[in-house]
Symmetry: C2
Subunit: 331 residues, 2 copies
C-alpha cells in the first residue's frame, strides 16, 4: 500500500472498510465529491445519502470512465471539498479508472481534499501507492491476497492520520482513531477474525516469496492480455472502454445459461454482472493467485462450450492467448 505505517486491518468486508474511510474523513457539514460508474462506486453515494453529506457527483455509463475535462470543471466550480471518493478498479464492469490523472486534478484544484480510493480489486493488479498522493487505499483479504473474505485493509497517508482527531461522523466500531492507537501496539481495538489474520500472514509471505506485488501485477496483466487476445479471435468486444487487468468483462447472448454450463460441465466458476448487467455479461478474474494454467483452462472450457451449443465463434483462441501465458510467472 506504500504507507509509512502498517495498514489498519478491520474485521469487516469491503463495504465496511469503505464506510470506515468515509466516516473518518468527513465531518457534519462537509462537502465531498464522488466519481462513480458502476455498482461498487455507487456505494460511495449510499454513504453520502445515509450520512446526509452534500455531494458533487460525476458519473459515466457502465463500462466507461470519467471525462477528465468534466472532472476538472467540477473541481474548479465546487466549494472547498473535504474529500473525494472513487474506485481504482470498478470490477462490476471490468473498468480501470484513471486514478493518477484524477489524483493530479484533485491535487491541483482541491489540494486540501482527502483522496480516498477503493482499490479492492485494484491493489496487486495496478501500481498504486499512498506515496503517489492518495490518502486512503482500501483492499480486502479475498482479492489479490487470495484468502477468504472477512478482513479489510486500509493504507493511510500521514495527512489522513493527522486529521483523524478532528470532528468526524459518529462511529465506534469503525473509529480509526481507536484502531490506529491499538494497532500501533500490535493489537486491534475489537476482537479480530484471528484465523484470517494468520492466513493473511501466510499469503503475504507467499507473495513476498514470489518477488512481491509487482509479480502479481505482471501476472494479472499477462492473463488479462491473454483473454483479450482470445476475445479478439472470437470477435467479441470488451464490455469496458477502459479495461483494467483485475477482471475482464464481455457480453454474450444468454450469459446466465452459459455461466451455468461452465460451472456444471467445465467446473469453471465465472461471475455474471450485477443489477442491470445480471445475465448480460461474463466477468473473468485475473488477480491474485490465478495462474496462466487456470486461464488456459478457462479459455478451453469456453471454446468447448461454444462447440456444444453450436456457437459460430472461430475456434483456436488458445493459440493467440498462449504467447502471453508463456510469459506469466510461476505462482
Amino acid at each position: 500500500l506504500g504507507a509509512n505505517d502498517w495498514p489498519l486491518i478491520l474485521t469487516a468486508s469491503g463495504t465496511g472498510a469503505m464506510e470506515a474511510a468515509f466516516l473518518n474523513a468527513v465531518s457534519p457539514g462537509s462537502s465531498i465529491a464522488v466519481f462513480h460508474a458502476g455498482r461498487y462506486g455507487e456505494r460511495w453515494m449510499d454513504f453520502a445519502r445515509a450520512h446526509q453529506i452534500h455531494t458533487y457527483e460525476i458519473t459515466a455509463p457502465y463500462g466507461h470512465t470519467f471525462d477528465l475535462e468534466e472532472v476538472k470543471q467540477l473541481l474548479t466550480r465546487a466549494v472547498s471539498l473535504k474529500a473525494v471518493f472513487f474506485q481504482d478498479s470498478e470490477s462490476s464492469t471490468g473498468t480501470r479508472h484513471r486514478t493518477q490523472e484524477l489524483v493530479a486534478l484533485i491535487q491541483r484544484h482541491q489540494p486540501q481534499a482527502l483522496i480516498v480510493v477503493d482499490a479492492m480489486t485494484g491493489l496487486g493488479v495496478h501500481p498504486l501507492s499512498i506515496q503517489s498522493g492518495i490518502d486512503v487505499l482500501i483492499t480486502g483479504s479475498q482479492k489479490s491476497m487470495g484468502i477468504h473474505p472477512g478482513l479489510s485493509l486500509l493504507g493511510l497517508s500521514e495527512r489522513y492520520l493527522n486529521q483523524l482527531h478532528e470532528l468526524h461522523l459518529p462511529r465506534v466500531y469503525f473509529d480509526l482513531r481507536k484502531e490506529f492507537e491499538a494497532q500501533q501496539k500490535q493489537v486491534t481495538a475489537w476482537t479480530p477474525a484471528i484465523g484470517l489474520m494468520g492466513a493473511l500472514g501466510t499469503s503475504l509471505d507467499r507473495i513476498h516469496g514470489l518477488g512481491g506485488a509487482q509479480v502479481l501485477q505482471a501476472n494479472a496483466n499477462l492473463l488479462a492480455n491473454s483473454l483479450r487476445a482470445a476475445l479478439d479471435h472470437w470477435g467479441i468486444p470488451l464490455f469496458s472502454k477502459y479495461p483494467g487487468d483485475s477482471v475482464t468483462a464481455f457480453m454474450l447472448p444468454e450469459a446466465g445459461a452459459f455461466i451455468q454450463r461452465l460451472k456444471e460441465e467445465e467446473n469453471l466458476v465465472v461471475a455474471s454482472g450485477q443489477g442491470v448487467l445480471e445475465g448480460q455479461i461474463l466477468r473473468i478474474g485475473h488477480l491474485g493467485f490465478i495462474s496462466a494454467n487456470d486461464m488456459a483452462a478457462t479459455i478451453t472450457g469456453i471454446e468447448r462450450t461454444f462447440l456444444k451449443i453450436g456457437a459460430s465463434y472461430p475456434h483456436g483462441a488458445l493459440a493467440k492467448a498462449q504467447s502471453f501465458l508463456d510469459q506469466a510467472p510461476r505462482l
Copy 2:
C-alpha cells in the same frame, strides 16, 4: 435465539453487532437507558456518546449487578424510552445480570422500549430467548459456538423487525434493513466471511448432535460449579457477587505472573482482567466446547502451580470438583 426468523449474520465481531443493534433501534432525539457494570456493558455508553443520544444510566461496581429498585425508579421517572441496553453475561467480571427480572421491569414501566441484550457469552450458557420478551439477542461465532471470531449473530423480535423501516441513525454496512432483505433470500447484503459461515454450520450441526443448546448450558453450569467448589476448597472468594456460568473470575496475588506460569509451564491459557482489573484477577471460561476434562486439567494445573510457588492454599480441590465433573455430558 428463539426468534421466529433466522438470526441475521454480520461479518464483524461483537462490538460491530452491538453498534448495529444500537443504530437500528435508536432515532435522532430518542432517549434510551443503559445498565452497565463492566467493560462490555460500558460499550453501550460509547455508542450513546458517539451518536449523541440522551441516555439514562444505571451502574454498579465491577462484580456486582444492578439494584432492581433503582432500575424500577429510573424506569418510572424517565421519559418514554426508545430502547434499553444491557449485557446478560458481563464476562469482564464473571457476572450474570438478572436479565429476566430486568425485562419484566422494562415491560411493566416502559412497555414501548426495545430491549437489546448482548448475550455474547450468555447464549448457550444461560437460558435466553427472544420469546421471553427480548427484542435483540446478540452473540458471536467465537463464544458458545466455538469457532474463530469474525461473525456475529443477532436474533430479532417481530417488534424490532417491524420498526426497522422507521427513521434510525445513519448507517450502511450495519443497515439491518438491507441485511434482513438479503438474508431472507439466503444471501448477505455484503460479502460475508464465507469460511466462517461454513465453520458455523459445522458447529451448529455438532451442537444439534449433542442434543442442543441445553446440553451446552448444563455443561457450563457443571463446570462453573466444579471450579466454584475448588475455589471454596482453596478459600478463595469469587470476584462476582452474581456469578454467571460462562466465566468464573477470582482475585489472586500477582495474578499476571501466575497466568504467565500457567501458560508456559502448564500449557493452560487463562485470561486476566481488563482495564483496572488487569493483573488483578483470573478469568476461566466454561462456555461452548470446554469439557469436564479440560476443567480437571485446569484445576490440577493451578494446584501444581500453587505447589511450585509455595502458596499455602489447601491441596486436593479436584476431589471437591469431581462430583460436578462426573455429571458433565460428553462433548
